[in-house]
């Protein structure tokens, strides 16, 4: 049995190493954001919160954060509507060529992000949608809808269609039966889809970067361009804020809906 013991410990050791590798850049950024020095250094020298104050006092960063949140909310609401309806249709209605439609809905995730970005850059220039919130939200929805469809479909597959059918037999109209019976039952899938959608939109760079107008920026694009100009601790500070928010959000989602089932 000793050989099995050794194998088990070797495996655990490897898992610990890989987890360390995965967390390494996260830890480094978090540490660097507290350094008193005006350049990036790890381990941090001294301890200060001034880089956090610098970010929150910088109107450019604040605008970028607000714009990103608004854009992600619009994209999420829009993709929830389109995505829930689509996955319901694909699973509960007879649609000729449903598999093809499902594959088509997923296509924007298969295509390289940069290709979707430049294609929309050219198209929006023609139809004068570049630099508009509506244009950006539509572009983001194209890549967030597949996430909603996948999460909602996973939930919907676990629900007996007879429940909604029973509500119809008892006199509920189609929409009433859907909203009072089915929708509450697939709430975990809708919540997971919404979370994915928000994060994917909030994080997007390859599509956003081609479509933003002058003076317009999202938070990740702002960080991206800031890094290209030169690295300083305020970038680490705003990154640390995102790390904390993501961590808390993920922990809450796991407790609330068992998020790992949807990934």
């Amino acid at each position: 049995m000793t050989a099995a013991r050794v194998r088990a410990w070797l495996l655990r050791g490897w898992v610990a190493l890989v987890m360390g590798f995965l967390m390494l850049p996260v830890v480094v950024i978090a540490l660097a954001s507290f350094s008193r020095t005006s350049y990036l250094t790890v381990p941090p020298r001294g301890l200060t919160l001034r880089w956090f104050a610098a970010v929150l006092g910088d109107p450019e960063y604040v605008h970028a954060i607000v714009f990103s949140v608004v854009l992600a909310l619009v994209a999420t609401i829009g993709s929830l509507g389109a995505g829930v309806a689509a996955s319901f249709a694909l699973l509960r209605r007879r649609v000729a060529g449903g598999a093809g439609v499902a594959a088509l809905l997923n296509a924007p995730l298969v295509f390289p992000g940069v290709v979707v970005g430049v294609a929309l850059l050219q198209f929006y220039a023609m139809v004068h949608l570049n630099g508009t919130l509506a244009g950006l939200a539509l572009a983001h929805m194209v890549i967030t809808v597949p996430y909603v469809v996948r999460a909602v479909t996973a939930s919907l597959q676990g629900i007996d269609p007879e429940l909604e059918h029973a509500a119809r037999v008892l006199g509920a109209s189609g929409p009433v039966a859907f909203f009072t019976v089915t929708l509450p039952l697939i709430r975990p899938g809708v919540a997971a889809g919404a979370l994915f959608s928000f994060i994917v939109s909030f994080d997007n760079v390859p599509v956003s970067i081609f479509l933003l107008g002058a003076g317009q920026t999202t938070l990740p694009v702002k960080i991206f361009t800031a890094i290209e100009y030169g690295v300083d601790p305020s970038i680490a500070a705003v990154s640390t804020m995102l790390i904390v928010l993501t961590g808390v959000g993920l922990a809450v989602a796991e407790r609330w809906i068992g998020f790992h089932r949807f990934v």
Partner: protein, 281 residues
């Protein structure tokens, strides 16, 4: 139930797809065939020049080759590093399992720019990796780890490792533990039970995980741009510059369509391979 009700429910998603994806991508085809004159812009007429240059000009061939080489090495690295982790997470019965899975998912959910930024701090001339290597006496002076193949390989491996692990977890979970036990009972050593039973049965997962990571790697823009800078180009950063700096949209469109064709060919081939494997099983 009316037969049309399914399509009515699909209409918003399909309409969105049409105006913000199908038409814009389709329009790149005619653009890619337009002549481009520097300082003048896109002119009338048609030319296949942007495509012929992509497959004959050594500058472009080097970038295409580099992109594919990165895809291949990142895929192998994530597979080798990730398989044992996926095996552990798929087989362990410990209660910490779900939280460990969440720990793998966490970097995926974290902003890509932020993750890449961490690697800039780590891989810089005076970064932590170089400090550690020198302290350990592995190297004498700082090693160049940014703006070259090594930097991109490390960064992209980190970024795409969670995808590989998640796909492999699913595949390994689908293998009944009994078949491994049966092999052991019949006298196979752990090593040969793993090599001749578990590993072949997880082949579909290895295939789909590898295709996923390869496709994501050759499509990646943010990480190659930040770790490779404007000089160490891959296909996606080339497209980025063609559209935003050089404003040569026809050439950029041709490059975009070539990259897309490569991605779609891979996805199609993997689908066929998976079906063939399924038919034989």
């Amino acid at each position: 139930m009316k037969p049309g009700s399914g399509w009515r429910l699909l209409a918003p998603a399909l309409l969105l797809l049409l105006i913000a994806f199908v038409v814009p991508v389709g329009m790149m085809v005619p653009t890619s065939l337009r002549p481009y004159v520097p300082l003048v812009g896109i002119t009338g007429g048609f030319t296949a020049r942007h495509y012929t240059r992509l497959v004959t000009d050594s500058y472009y061939l080097e970038i295409i080759g580099r992109t594919l080489a990165l895809g291949l090495t990142v895929t192998c690295a994530t597979l080798v590093i990730g398989y044992p982790v996926a095996f552990f997470l798929a087989r362990t019965r410990s209660r910490g399992r779900n939280w460990l899975t969440i720990l793998v998912v966490f970097p995926l959910m974290l902003n890509l720019v932020v993750r890449t930024f961490g690697w800039i701090a780590l891989l810089a001339q005076n970064g932590l990796v170089n400090q550690a290597l020198q302290a350990l006496g592995v190297v004498d002076g700082p090693v160049k780890l940014l703006f070259n193949f090594a930097g991109l390989l490390i960064g992209l491996t980190h970024i795409f490792l969670p995808f590989m692990v998640l796909v492999l977890i699913g595949a390994i979970q689908n293998i009944p533990r009994d078949v491994e036990d049966a092999a052991r009972v019949l006298g196979a050593s752990w090593g040969s039970a793993f090599l001749r039973v578990t590993l072949p049965l997880s082949a579909p997962g290895i295939l789909s995980g590898s295709i996923l990571v390869f496709v994501l790697t050759i499509s990646a823009l943010v990480t190659p741009r930040l770790l490779g800078g404007p000089t160490y180009q891959v296909m996606s950063t080339l497209i980025y510059d063609e559209f935003l700096s050089r404003l040569n949209w026809p050439a950029g469109s041709a490059q975009s369509l070539l990259l897309t064709a490569m991605v779609l060919a891979l996805v199609y081939l993997s689908g066929r391979l998976a079906r063939r494997a399924g038919a034989h099983a």
